[in-house]
Amino acid sequence: MKKVKILTIILLVVLITMIGAFGIYFKVQNRMENKLKEYAYSMDLNGGRNVRLKVNTESKDVIKDSEGKEVETDEELTDEQLAEKGYTKESVPNNSQDVLNLDNYEKAKKIIEDRLKEQNVEEYEVALNDETGEITVQIPENSNTDSIVSNLNTVGKFEILDSETKEVLMDNNDIKKAQVMYGAGSSTSSGTSVYLSIQFTKDGAKKLEEISTNYAKKDDTDTNTTSGENTTTENTTNTQTEENTTNSTENTTNTTEDTSATSEEETTQKQITMKIDDEEIMTTSFDEPIRTGTLQLTVGSNSTDADTLQGYMKSASSMASILTCGNMPVQYDIEQNEYILSDIGTEFLQYIKLAIIILMAIGIIILVIKYRANGLLAGLTMAGFAGLYTILLKYTNVTLSLQGIAGIIISLVLNYILINMLLSKIKNGEGKTEKEKVNKAITDSYKEFFIKIIPICIIAVVFALINWMPISSFGMTMFWGIVLIAVYDFVITSSILKIKADK
């Protein structure tokens, strides 16, 4: 019976080892497919998206009136028309010579890093060429990468202007932070709305209150506007911006979408224009003064579709990160955007795997020499531990990085140390019977071992909770390694040694 029990455990261990090492294969459409999940790899092993941002060297044409004031016009004016109106056309570089300095390059780099952090990118590398101002960004390749890349060179200039005089009433300096919120849509329609909530600084909040008082709607009934086929009613606006972001203010503003819209009080109604990167987001007036210091803009329309909402959330979160992190002092262009694989290929991982197998084999041989039959049994369970650990890491969504691999190696070493400690205590321990000796050895070894590795446990837990992929990868592999050591060695290794000692 004792032999059957031991044999059963050994077979189980061998099975786990085989699955861990080679996987489980099933026939799928005339070919064998491994049903065991693959590892997820971090940027240092899998490569990532490389984006080169070059300082913009282009110029734009600016039309100025006779007083030197910038004139905004939608129509293309010929030289004759300009001369007729007394306007002059000047070519102004997007980045003036004053802004092209190391200080601003550093600021731009810092803003890019902040934006990546805000968008919860768990791993990135940002390098700056001090001389040219060129910035290279490397981020992991996944479904969010394109949207993150599209925001890297966005200047993020935020302005609230008087729609007529173009006087800047508020800008980026007034923003404290922006965040994404969601909740039930309007009372008339079902579904969920996504909001971009812009929280202003103390001074900004005061300005906003002042503006919302000065630019308050004159009369509710009169300001409902009609524009072609659309009827914009109270509290809604639909101004399309890049990335399908549609904004409107919630409960606080009343908006006109089309400048051609007619209104009884249009001539007297003061309105503000909100611009992001010189692109008009909305023109609006306010229902009532805003004293909360927060402006909420709905992103997109009410929806019940999860994918649509997810899209709105992405757009809003990109916008939020841009507004929170401030505007870039230098305008950049995306020069190169490509996925580059890691120079550490799969070959390297195979070498690591092989090295671990060889070291484990040596370890098992040492155990057999030192502790004979107990060493052999414990050695076999060690192989099972490695197999189960592999499966566990695949199914606990641990992303493997170089640090993570270090964590795996340390966990395997820790398991070896515990087994060695256990076998040594069995060999040299005292007790009336063999079973008693084994039981005492197990208790003593566990106590001694886990007291010694408490600092490692602390590190594993802290690192696992950190939102930085390489370090969390180490923490996660260590955490699961330690949990598995505690459970597996108690259930499998200790059991097999107890059964062997049982007479």
Partner: protein, 221 residues
């Protein structure tokens, strides 16, 4: 100094020599950063076919000689190679393009191949993300140490832990600076490994001392 054994004294002197030499090396030459982290130059060549890193390596060995080279595959089809090295001269570029054309039957032209500058990653940017986790973990560990080994003297225990952790890390970086081991992707795993080993060493030592102390108290009682 009188209380120090010869062995301890030797360790102290040796450590001081290593640390001073390390500091001098860092001040004079700095760390030897891995190619990935240092300023360099890069060319990308479209080979129209999948390739083996080892084949490209043979070519770059001939072209760049002793210069460190990093070879990476580009995009999902893996038919473009990015070759990064410390610097690429026009002659090296011509040579590289010629050899690639010979090997892969491509018709690449040196004049169409742009040499791109690769910005360096600063040491502080590499370290920055690790400062917070290490600080939090160390603080919690110190609190644990102070409680667990309060019989050995709380302040003494905390100071010893901080001192030994700092000592091993300083030694590691001094050795890296002296031996010119590149600072790169493997540095952080190495730092973590040394940190863990130090902590296990400290705990083992403290546990032993604690057991002796308890025995001593028992005897006195």
């Amino acid at each position: 100094m009188k209380n120090l054994s010869k062995k301890t004294l030797a360790i102290v002197i040796l450590s001081l020599i290593v640390i001073i030499a390390g500091i001098i090396m860092i001040a004079v030459k700095g760390f030897n950063f891995d190619l990935r982290e240092q300023k360099g130059q890069k060319v990308e060549l479209y080979l129209k076919t999948e390739f083996k890193d080892s084949d490209i390596k043979n070519i770059t060995n001939e072209v760049f000689g002793e210069q460190p080279v990093m070879i990476q595959k580009v995009e999902v089809f893996e038919d473009t190679v990015a070759i990064t090295t410390t610097s690429i001269s026009d002659e090296q570029k011509n040579n590289l393009v010629t050899k690639i054309n010979e090997k892969y039957g491509t018709e690449l032209k040196a004049e169409d191949t742009e040499i791109l500058d690769v910005a360096h990653t600063r040491g502080r940017d590499i370290i920055k993300p690790y400062i917070l986790p290490f600080t939090i973990a160390t603080l919690i560990i110190l609190v644990y140490m102070a409680f667990r080994y309060h019989k050995l003297g709380t302040i003494k225990t905390v100071l010893k832990t901080i001192g030994l952790c700092a000592y091993t890390q300083i030694m590691l970086f001094s050795i890296m600076a002296i031996t010119r081991i590149p600072v790169g992707r493997l540095t952080i795993p190495l730092v973590i490994l040394i940190y863990l080993l130090t902590l296990v060493g400290i705990t083992t030592r403290f546990e032993k001392n604690l057991a002796l102390k308890k025995e001593e108290i028992k005897k006195k009682a």
